[in-house]
Symmetry: C2
Subunit: 187 residues, 2 copies
C-alpha cells in the first residue's frame, strides 16, 4: 500500500490545495479592498472553485479559521446571497455552496450599499445648500453664495455618480457622455 502511487506526482493534492489558496487569498484581498472582511472573500472563493457544497468544519480546516469566524462569515455571506445553505437528507450538518452569478452579487452590493452611501451624502449636500442660501447674513451674502455654488458643484457630481451607479446596476449599459456634461463652473 504505497501512499504516493506515482513518482511523477509529488504531492499533487497539496499543490492543488495551495493553488486554490492562492486564488482564495487574491479574492480575499479584493474583497477586503472593497470593504468586506477578508475571510468572506476567502470562503466564497474556495466554495466557488470547488464547485460542490462544503460543510462548515471543512471550511475551518481548509482556511485555518475558528468555527466562530466561519459561522459569522457564512452568515454575512448568506445575507448578501453570495452563499447558500443547504441540507443533505440524512446528514445533520449544514453544507454551503457558492452563488455563481458573480455579476448578480456585485450589482446587489452596489445597489444596497454604495447607493445608500451616496444618497446619504446627497441629502446632506442638498439640505445644507438650502440653509446656506436662506441664512440671514448681512453683508456676507456674496461669500455665502459662493460657498453654496461650490457645494452645488459637489452635488452635481454626486448626482452623476448616483446616475452611473443606477445605470450600471439596472440596465448593465452606461453611456457616460450625457452624464459628464454637468454645469461647468467659471474659472
Amino acid at each position: 500500500m504505497a501512499p504516493a502511487p506515482t513518482p511523477s506526482e509529488p504531492g499533487m493534492r497539496e499543490q492543488e490545495r495551495d493553488l486554490l489558496h492562492e486564488v482564495a487569498d487574491a479574492v480575499g484581498a479584493l474583497m477586503e479592498f472593497w470593504g468586506f472582511k477578508r475571510v468572506m472573500g476567502r470562503v466564497w472563493a474556495l466554495l466557488y472553485l470547488r464547485g460542490d457544497a462544503l460543510s462548515a468544519s471543512e471550511l475551518c480546516d481548509q482556511l485555518s479559521i475558528s468555527s466562530g469566524a466561519a459561522s459569522m462569515a457564512l452568515a454575512e455571506l448568506e445575507h448578501w446571497a453570495v452563499v447558500r445553505r443547504i441540507r443533505k437528507p440524512g446528514d445533520r450538518r449544514e453544507y454551503f455552496e457558492a452563488e455563481t452569478d458573480i455579476w448578480k452579487m456585485i450589482s446587489r452590493v452596489m445597489r444596497e450599499r454604495e447607493l445608500v452611501q451616496i444618497e446619504r451624502a446627497l441629502e446632506v449636500f442638498e439640505r445644507v445648500r438650502e440653509k446656506l442660501r436662506t441664512l440671514p447674513a448681512p453683508g456676507e451674502r456674496p461669500r455665502l453664495d459662493d460657498i453654496a455654488d461650490r457645494l452645488g458643484k459637489l452635488l452635481d457630481l454626486a448626482r452623476v455618480g448616483r446616475g452611473l451607479l443606477v445605470a450600471l446596476v439596472q440596465q448593465g449599459r452606461v453611456d457616460l457622455g450625457p452624464l459628464m456634461r454637468f454645469p461647468r463652473s467659471r474659472r
Copy 2:
C-alpha cells in the same frame, strides 16, 4: 460695543461653521467608505468649500485635530494631488488650497489604486489557471479542468472590470454592452 449686532442674526457665524462641518463630515464618511482616512475627506471638503487657502493651524482649529494629524493628512492629500501647498510672500506659514477638479481626482485614484488592485488579482488568476491545467493528476483531469473553467469565468469578469475601469478613466465614456457578453458557462 455690542458683540451681536443684530437680533435677527443669532450666531450666524456659528451656524455657518456648523453647516460646513456637516458637509465636511459627509464627505469624510464618503472618503472613508472609499478607503481613505476620514480626516482626509474632512480637510479637503473644508478647503474646497471655503474656496481660499487656509493655514495648517486654521485647519487644526476648525476640524479639532492635532497638528500631527493635519500634517499627515495634508501630505497624503498632496500626494494624490487633491490639495496644493502654496506660500504667500512675506508670510512664513504654508497655506493649502483644494484642487477643484473633482473628476480628475477620482480618475487618478481609480487609475493608480483600483486598477493596480485588479491587475494584481488578474495575474494570480492567470498563473494559477495555467498551473491547474498542466498539473499531472492521474484520473483527476476532469475535476481539475472544471475548477480551471470556473477560475476562467472569474478571470473573464475581472477583465471586464478592468476594461470598465480603463474606459471610465481614459475616455470618460463607457458602453457596457459589448463588455457584458463574456463567455457563458453551462448551467
